[in-house]
Symmetry: C2
């Protein structure tokens, strides 16, 4: 898309030769910027720095490294995050404050700043309009594939483009799988509008993914908009074309979010959980999250066991209101529990067959009201234990 360039390089934060570990995204003009961050009480220095950039609402670049998260490093961590921004600003000819910073990887280790500085120089020399995939590669940690998505929308008769990369998984693990997503668009929009749109979209996409119920110290979603589409500036959700822009932004974010769930550590299946009939929206979301984070449900899905008992049990344990005689549990479209009782052996057989697929749906109607919620997650396999027990920080 015109006006944006990207690079991903190897600078040596990760030991393995040739493994990309530093990403740079550059806007040739100051772009309108919006971002959402982790709400953890323990946050990394890069998040503290980038929160200031988001407040300013204008940015020229995003610099990110994988392999080291720069978390829990005190004053040194803050200096290093600022130095990453300053080094990037110097090569691009802008102010440090116009550079978002993100780091992901081990907690409690210092950033190797000489390598990072060399990496920033090399990345700035390699910036290219076709470099988004390299940038996506460079922010990977335990991700098994780079995650890219793009979309178009007509906004006030102008063609608007949105593209993005992501890594990790929504609410996830601290060492190596912080959720990061960087989005770029050529839409023209005010910072206020962009902030609202990003928050609404992130709440329904990135914030609906859970791999293991954990929020990271460094989760960041950053959106840069350079205005090159020359549409009439989007100022509010009611501006002409704003709905279509937000829908396209939602599509990109949803696609990336689903990739995060699918690529959860050790995952063999993408699991979509839909809760309906809840007493209120908060209970709907809580029920969906409990199912998604239940180790028992996740291991059952891994084992292809249509175990509605575990689903009901985790909802009950969360003291979520339901009317058992009206409750229905569907697995891959097959009702396995309804009218207060098991749907029988034939239904179980059909559900077992459904559970052999790579994408699995769990739909639960609580019979207690009209609220609903959707969450994406993955199953829990031996490989999750292997990755997290045998990986040494």
């Amino acid at each position: 898309m015109p006006g944006f360039r990207y690079a991903g390089v190897h600078c040596g934060v990760k030991a393995q030769r040739g493994e990309l570990d530093l990403a740079l995204i550059e806007s040739e003009v100051p772009a309108t910027a919006a971002a959402v961050f982790t709400r953890s009480t323990v946050v990394g220095a890069p998040v503290e720095w980038s929160r200031q950039c988001a407040k300013a609402g204008k940015a020229r670049a995003i610099v990110a490294n994988s392999g080291c998260s720069n978390v829990a490093m005190g004053a040194r961590g803050r200096r290093d995050a600022e130095a990453m921004a300053a080094a990037t600003a110097k090569t691009l000819g802008c102010k440090a404050k116009e550079v978002f910073v993100a780091s992901t990887g081990v907690i409690g280790e210092p950033l190797p700043m000489a390598k990072i500085r060399a990496g920033i120089r090399s990345a700035s020399q390699g910036l290219d309009s076709g470099g988004l995939r390299d940038a996506g590669e460079a922010i990977r940690t335990t991700d098994t594939f780079a995650k890219l998505a793009s979309e178009r929308a007509i906004v006030g008769r102008k063609n608007v483009r949105i593209a993005g990369i992501a890594k990790g998984s929504g609410m996830i693990e601290p060492d190596m799988a912080t959720m990061l997503s960087f989005l770029v668009t050529d839409v023209a929009a005010t910072p206020t509008y962009l902030r609202g749109a990003l928050k609404r979209v992130a709440d329904q996409t990135f914030n609906r993914v859970t791999v293991d119920g954990e929020g990271s110290t460094s989760d960041s979603v950053i959106l840069l908009a350079n205005g090159y589409a020359e549409n009439a500036v989007l100022r509010t959700p009611k501006s002409p074309g704003a709905k279509r822009f937000e829908a396209a932004l939602f599509d990109v974010a949803e696609e990336l979010a689903r990739m995060l769930a699918r690529d959860g550590e050790g995952a063999t299946k993408l699991v979509t959980i839909d809760v309906t009939g809840a007493a209120n929206p908060a209970e709907a979301e809580r029920a969906a999250r409990r199912i998604a984070n239940s180790m028992l449900v996740k291991t059952a899905i891994f084992g292809r066991d249509p175990n509605w008992g575990r689903i009901l049990q985790t909802i009950g344990a969360g003291r979520i209101r339901l009317a058992l005689p009206r409750v229905e549990v569907k697995l891959c479209g097959v009702p396995v529990f309804k009218g207060g009782a098991s749907a029988g052996a034939a239904a179980r057989k059909r559900a077992e067959k459904g559970l052999t697929q790579d994408e699995v749906e769990i739909a639960v109607h609580l019979g207690a009201g009209r609220s609903k919620a959707r969450i994406w997650t993955c199953d829990l396999s031996y490989d999750y234990v292997r990755i997290n027990a045998e990986y040494t920080t």
Copy 2:
């Protein structure tokens, strides 16, 4: 202990020949009774029945089966739970309302009532003052060993005895590991006093165990007191000897609770988590539970990785208040994080050595206040996944 008899028999709820699956505990006189149950919104028919017994405050027996939980079976489930009590009452010559009922095992299958009835007859014929271990065996499901504990206390110059059995793990899984504990004592006490004492003790013992953060549909702790110790009846926590009785009851419950955690599904280690310096008791407990239920912390313990980053991260993700420069994380007595930074490689080495032991301590000081909490849990191993993914309901 005088006045109590016990039996454990095989009646065929469990397929394997000779595997004990029905337990009976009998008091020769009506005993004062107290109980605490799951707070789930999905509860088994046996819990509904036993709640009525607990309200009455007097009971002659506890009958329990493993292999089938009698949960989510509607009207049939209620009839079957009542029929278990009635059959037991008939053989013992008491009222059905004086018989507590508990069932643990698969959800959504009907109880094989002919087998259960035959088992009750056979158990009542085999009742013996030395049969507590058999009863403990008969309530096992995925437990790898039967759990028994006993204690004595001097209450108003009288020797008081307490004994108990338990199975499963505090907050646990729905199919095969409901937490059950049955306690007997010869203390003389009013139902009101006994209820209060049991609730206080259970809150600090059984309710402090978590294997996977799940509460069951059937968790039950039942205490019968026959008064044979002839102490002056305990009426309030201030009655002479009440403190000593409660301390002994606590010891029995704590010992059983620790056994539950140690025997968590797939567990290789018993993990004790102590959080201090929290802003208030609720945050202390929440922090301890988050650490205990964190899949990342549990896999790190399994992998003997002194990963303080994951501990801080899960506390932060729970938005629990802390003052990072005052935070201290100790693993097996070794400070691995203090003063806002890693304690270094030597400390890590010492902690790694500590993590090779069967019992592991995680102590976290939050630096935000004076409240504290303790939780027992276990690690997360390949075997947890195997048991829960490959076990077919």
